[in-house]
C-alpha cells in the first residue's frame, strides 16, 4: 500500500476506515518491506531519544559548540516554576522543550532529526507537552509520531524539507506542520482535520528564510523551534475548534516549494543574509572562526 498526496492519503483512510498513523504504518510494512515489530520498535527508539533530549538540559544545561546558545530551557523552566509565566499549560511546556532539544543538538548530544537536526525541537516540544498536560499513553504519542511522519513524508516527496533548497519554512515550517497534524490526531481529531492543521501551519510559516549566524545550527534556529511549536499548537487548536483550512494541504505543499524556489540563495542556509548578515551576526561569526585555530 502506498499514497503520494494528502488527497490520496485521505482516500486510503476513508476506504479502509483507518487513521493516518495506521496508514503510515501499513505503508512502511508493505511498500517499505518492513514488519510491524521492527517498525514499532524503531519508532519507540526515536521517541526515547526525543524524550531524553527534551528533558536533560532542564536539569543540566549545555553550552553549544559555537557558544551562541545554552541554558535557555532551564531559564524558561525556572520561570514557569516561579508562577510568574505569561504562558501556561501545553504552550508553556512546549516552549521549554522546544529550547531544550536544540541545546542538546548544538552541544553534540544525541537527537532525532525530524525532519532535520535544525528543527529537531519542534516535534518533541508538542508531543511531550500534550502527553504531560493530558496524561496521554505511549500508544497515543507513537500514533502522533506516525501521523507527523506521514505529513513529513508528503512534504519530502512533494515539496521540500531542506533549508538549503527552500529556506527555514521547509525545516521549521515542515516540522511544525508535521506535529500540528500529530497534535490533532492525539487529541482525537479526524484525518481531514490533521491535514487541515498542517495546511494552516504551512500558510502561517510561509516564506521564512534560513539565515544561521556563522552557518551554525544555533541561532536563530533554536528560537525558531519555539515559533514552530507555538504555530503547531495554534493550528491544532483552531482545527479542533471546528475551523477548516481554506487551502488544501497538497496545494499548500506546492506553494511552499514555489516560494522556496523564489527565496534568494543568500537566505537559504548560506549564512549570507538575514540574521547572519547583521553587523552583530557577522561579528559573532568572526569571533567564532578566529578561535577555530588555523
Amino acid at each position: 500500500m502506498d499514497f503520494i498526496s494528502a488527497a490520496d492519503l485521505l482516500r486510503v483512510c476513508g476506504e479502509e476506515n483507518i487513521t493516518i498513523a495506521d496508514a503510515m504504518r501499513e505503508r512502511e510494512n508493505t511498500a517499505g518491506e518492513s514488519n510491524p515489530e521492527l517498525t514499532e520498535s524503531k519508532m519507540k527508539k526515536a521517541l526515547n531519544i526525543m524524550r531524553e533530549s527534551a528533558h536533560s538540559p532542564i536539569e543540566k544545561p549545555f553550552r553549544s559548540q559555537g557558544g551562541l546558545i545554552g541554558g535557555e530551557a532551564k531559564k524558561l523552566n525556572d520561570r514557569a516554576l516561579s508562577g510568574k509565566s505569561i504562558l501556561s499549560g501545553a504552550m508553556s511546556k512546549a516552549l521549554i522543550y522546544s529550547q531544550a532539544v536544540p541545546e542538546v543538538n548544538a552541544s553534540m548530544g544525541v537527537i532525532v532529526a525530524a525532519p532535520t537536526a535544525g528543527a529537531s525541537g519542534v516535534l518533541p516540544a508538542v508531543l511531550f507537552a500534550l502527553e504531560e498536560e493530558f496524561g496521554l499513553d505511549e500508544k497515543t504519542v507513537l500514533d502522533g509520531l506516525f501521523t507527523a511522519g506521514a505529513v513529513g513524508y508528503l512534504l519530502t516527496r512533494n515539496s521540500s524539507v531542506s533549508g538549503a533548497s527552500a529556506g527555514c519554512q521547509a525545516e521549521i515550517g515542515s516540522a511544525a506542520a508535521m506535529v500540528s497534524a500529530a497534535a490533532v490526531a492525539m487529541m482525537g481529531g479526524t484525518p481531514e482535520q490533521c491535514l487541515d492543521a498542517a495546511s494552516i501551519t504551512i500558510s502561517n510559516m510561509l516564506g521564512l528564510v534560513c539565515d544561521p549566524i556563522a552557518g551554525l545550527v544555533e541561532a536563530p534556529c533554536q528560537s525558531r523551534n519555539a515559533a514552530g511549536a507555538a504555530n503547531a499548537l495554534i493550528s491544532a487548536e483552531m482545527v479542533l475548534s471546528g475551523i477548516k483550512a481554506i487551502i488544501p494541504f497538497d496545494e499548500m505543499a506546492q506553494s511552499m516549494l514555489k516560494v522556496g524556489r523564489s527565496i534568494p540563495s543568500e537566505l537559504r542556509e548560506t549564512a549570507m543574509g538575514g540574521c547572519a548578515a547583521t553587523p552583530t551576526g557577522c561579528s559573532h561569526k568572526c569571533k567564532i572562526f578566529s578561535t577555530q585555530g588555523e
Binding site: G32, M43, A106, I111, V161, A214
Partner: protein, 225 residues
C-alpha cells in the same frame, strides 16, 4: 523515485548539530573503518568546501575521528573522540584545503596507514540528511553508499577476474544484488564492488583471497538497526 521511509523523516538518530556536517561525516569515516576492519595505525583527513570552512562549529573533525574508530552517527562518544583516539594511540592529522573548489561542498579525503597492509585513500561526500557516498578509492572513481553488505576488491584489470570471483560466490549460494567495476586505465588498477542483500560470510572472503591473485579484498557489513 526511491522509497521514502517514515524513518527518513523521523530520523536519522544522530549526534548533533548537523545531519550533513556531523552525521554524514561520521558515516563516511565509519564506512572506511569497516572497509579496513579497523586496522588503522594513522589517519589523515583533508577537508574541502563547507567542511573546511565550518568544521569546528559543526564538530565535523570529532565526527570523522569517531567514525574512523567505529562509532555510529548516534554514538555520543563522538563528542570525546579526540581524547579516545589519544588513549587508543591512534595517530591523526587534519588538513584544511580551501583552494580546491571543484569538489562537492562537503567532501573529505581520508588517508589510512594500516598494519601489514598497503596504505589506502578514500574520498567521501556527505549528501545531506545524514546520507553519504564514497566516491574514490586510491584515486579511482567509484560509488559506494553502504546500503548493502559489500565486497570491495582491488585488482589489476585483466580477463577472468570477475568470473573467478562471482563463481566462488555462486558456489556458496550468495546472491549478488549489484556488481560494478571501475578502472584507472586498461590493464591498470581496478576495483570491483559487489553488493549483496545477505551478509557475505568470511569463508567466501577467505576463499577468494586464497584462490585468486588480488591486491586487496575488503568486506563491509551493513549496519543492522
Amino acid at each position: 523515485m526511491a522509497f521514502i521511509s517514515v524513518f527518513d523523516v523521523i530520523g536519522p538518530n544522530m549526534v548533533g548539530p548537523s545531519s550533513s556536517h556531523t552525521a554524514g561525516a561520521a558515516s563516511i569515516a565509519l564506512l572506511v573503518h569497516k572497509m579496513t576492519g579497523g586496522n588503522i595505525e594513522k589517519v589523515k583527513f583533508t577537508l574541502y568546501g563547507s567542511f573546511a570552512r565550518t568544521y569546528r562549529g559543526h564538530g565535523t573533525d570529532k565526527a570523522l575521528l569517531g567514525g574512523i574508530m567505529g562509532f555510529e552517527a548516534d554514538d555520543v562518544r563522538i563528542r570525546d573522540s579526540f581524547r579516545l583516539a589519544d588513549e587508543k594511540g591512534l595517530e591523526y592529522e587534519f588538513e584544511i584545503n580551501t583552494e580546491e573548489t571543484d569538489v562537492h561542498p562537503n567532501t573529505v579525503d581520508i588517508e589510512i596507514t594500516r598494519r601489514d597492509a598497503p596504505p589506502i585513500s578514500v574520498r567521501g561526500e556527505s549528501l545531506g540528511g545524514g546520507a553519504c557516498e564514497l566516491t574514490r578509492i586510491n584515486g579511482v572513481k567509484i560509488r559506494l553508499r553502504g546500503e548493502y553488505h559489500a565486497l570491495i576488491i582491488s585488482h589489476q584489470d585483466r580477463p577472468g577476474i570477475i568470473a573467478a570471483v562471482t563463481n566462488i560466490l555462486s558456489v556458496l549460494d550468495i546472491n549478488i544484488a549489484y556488481l560494478r567495476v571501475y578502472r584507472e586505465s586498461k590493464g591498470g588498477q581496478a576495483f570491483m564492488i559487489i553488493e549483496s542483500d545477505e551478509e557475505i560470510p568470511d569463508k567466501a572472503v577467505n576463499k577468494i583471497k586464497k584462490s585468486i591473485s588480488l591486491d586487496d579484498i575488503m568486506s563491509i557489513k551493513r549496519q543492522e538497526v
